[in-house]
Symmetry: C2
Subunit: 190 residues, 2 copies
């Protein structure tokens, strides 16, 4: 998606440790013109896939999922993160390791909101090591829901995690796919 790549080149900041800072337009201060375009593009990519639910993980995926859900016309569900391990029986639960925070989280959704009749589109701001996405896939598996694929604002292709998911048969669409990045520049996948 051209607008996303241009925005990353103009306003993204590459920091040491393979960090791409996009807080100025994507995941803290959100450019809502771009957000609307992101929603429309995700809806276009998954048109005809009969998505019944857009699933994301709090907090930085919510705005993107909301834009996608509005464009698709499907409800948005967000999985909650908890540090505590006392999870009650009314939820589907999985464990996701966060490298950013150096901790394991329980990621949960209510059983009331996800079921075997659902065709789920997973949405997140970043795909780096794939842990968050695999956690969401696991929640869908537990619910018996079908995953139509994942829509990611920015994929760090150089980790290999997205291609590994693709090799396993998962459809992953990234609006910006970064092959390489350094302080000298960013190379997008052709």
């Amino acid at each position: 998606m051209k607008q996303m790549e241009e925005k990353i080149l103009r306003d993204g900041q590459v920091l040491p440790g393979d960090i791409l800072k996009v807080g100025s337009f994507l995941n803290q201060n959100i450019d809502t013109v771009l957000l609307g375009q992101i929603g429309e593009e995700i809806a276009r990519l998954f048109a005809g896939d009969h998505v019944t639910k857009v699933l994301t993980i709090e907090a930085s995926g919510i705005a993107i999922a909301a834009a996608a859900g509005m464009a698709i016309g499907a409800p948005v569900l967000f999985a909650k993160k908890h540090l505590t391990s006392n999870v009650d029986g009314d939820v589907y639960s999985t464990v996701v390791h966060s490298f950013t925070h150096g901790a394991d989280y329980n990621v949960v959704v209510s059983r009331d909101y996800l079921g075997s009749e659902d065709r789920v589109l997973l949405v997140d701001d970043f795909l780096a090591n794939g842990h968050a996405l695999r956690g969401l896939i696991d929640l869908c598996d537990r619910a018996g829901a079908y995953v139509v694929g994942g829509a990611i604002a920015i994929e760090k292709c150089f980790t290999g995690a997205g291609d590994k998911l693709r090799a396993e048969g998962m459809r992953i669409e990234s609006l910006a796919a970064i092959e390489a990045m350094s302080e000298d520049g960013i190379v997008f996948r052709a």
Copy 2:
């Protein structure tokens, strides 16, 4: 807003302790048709107020703020909650007490994203005791930003917190304003 009141009457659940559960359509599983209507209604209410930024607090305010920001055409900024008190100098910070979680949170936004040139619309899903909204007002005061008002999906008027803010001169618009509620029913402000 008629659609919001109807949705609350149809799908909201009043639980003991003055809790209104709206997870099925507003703050966990989000009805994106309603969400689009919420965004348009907030944009209508604050048309002409030259809003330059929509500010909310993670996580359940983000989708509503995103819808409002897209309808208004202004960026959305979300303040982050931290349990830890080690807040660096690049942020504006305030403390908010959460009755839901029985803890004090540091609520922070980056200094890069909020400034004295901003005309800020505060957005949240609920106004109950007003603590979250007062925290956001405090962040704006620290940034020297002007607060044009607050847009709230559901106000629990019976707490008096919203009317206290109004008496102090703050413009508060609630899409559904609940005067009284019990398991027997819900009474909206006329």
